[in-house]
């Protein structure tokens, strides 16, 4: 396995980990932030796959604005979640 492939697998595994954490953690603020991390990992993966425009957009939208929207909402409703 070349270094790039290893990097690829590394990101893929962490993507799944981030997704699971974002969904399992009880604090919605943490969930939102982890979701931002998930998006950022996704953006790295896409950049590595050669989809630079998509990666750029995901960095701006997924990791940036989406996370901000989520956090804004979490602040205005309650922070803890039952699951």
């Amino acid at each position: 396995m070349s270094g790039l492939e290893l990097f690829n697998v590394f990101i893929l595994v962490f993507l799944v980990v981030a997704a699971v954490i974002a969904l399992r953690v009880k604090d919605l603020l943490i969930a939102s932030v982890v979701f931002g991390i998930y998006s950022f990992l996704m953006c790295l993966l896409w950049a590595e796959m050669g989809a630079v425009d998509v990666a750029f957009t995901e960095a701006a939208v997924g990791a940036g604005v989406s996370a901000v929207f989520l956090i804004a909402t979490v602040f205005n409703v309650k922070r803890d979640s039952s699951d």
């Binding site: 893929l12 969930a31 939102s32 050669g50 995901e58 939208v61």
Partner: protein, 196 residues
Amino acid sequence: MFGEDGGLLRELLVERFNYCIYVVLLLIGLYAMIAKNNLIKKLIGMSIFQTAIILFYVSLGVKEGASIPIYKPEHDPHGHHAEDHADHKPKDANASSSASADAHDDHHEVQALTDEQTRQYANPLPHVLMLTAIVVGVATLGVALAVVQRIYRAYGTIEEDEVMKAIMEESQGIPSTKGSPKSKKGASKKRKAKKA
């Protein structure tokens, strides 16, 4: 789940690891959308679900040994032809629409790429589609978050079962509970009816 065949398992896990991960992410998202009780958790699941599909599309555009879909300088219409362009520019700017045919001829030195050169670039179409999909995703997320806030404003909770309970109470409570704040909606309805 992967089938008994060891070959199939190996094929799926080693050669198609990317495809596998997109399936896993998609399923995580789908599970969260259906099973989670918290509305915001459902939405995070929804976003994961959508990004998984985007990951699938981007995987389609990958080509072995290809670079990003932006012309290298040697293929770039504005790359090594840039000097020629600089010469033509003033002419272009002054040319009327009839002269633009000449300009068109000048540009003919911009040649289409050969098949060999085409292979050097990744397929741009999936990328374009996914730009659109990302945008749609954030728009849906935004609208859904607004809906969540609206629900919270009305029912004071973002847990699905509690919202359901509040709705049940409300729909049963309209006729009997006149003074309680819960029947506000019912009261306003009645007022409207009287007017009409």
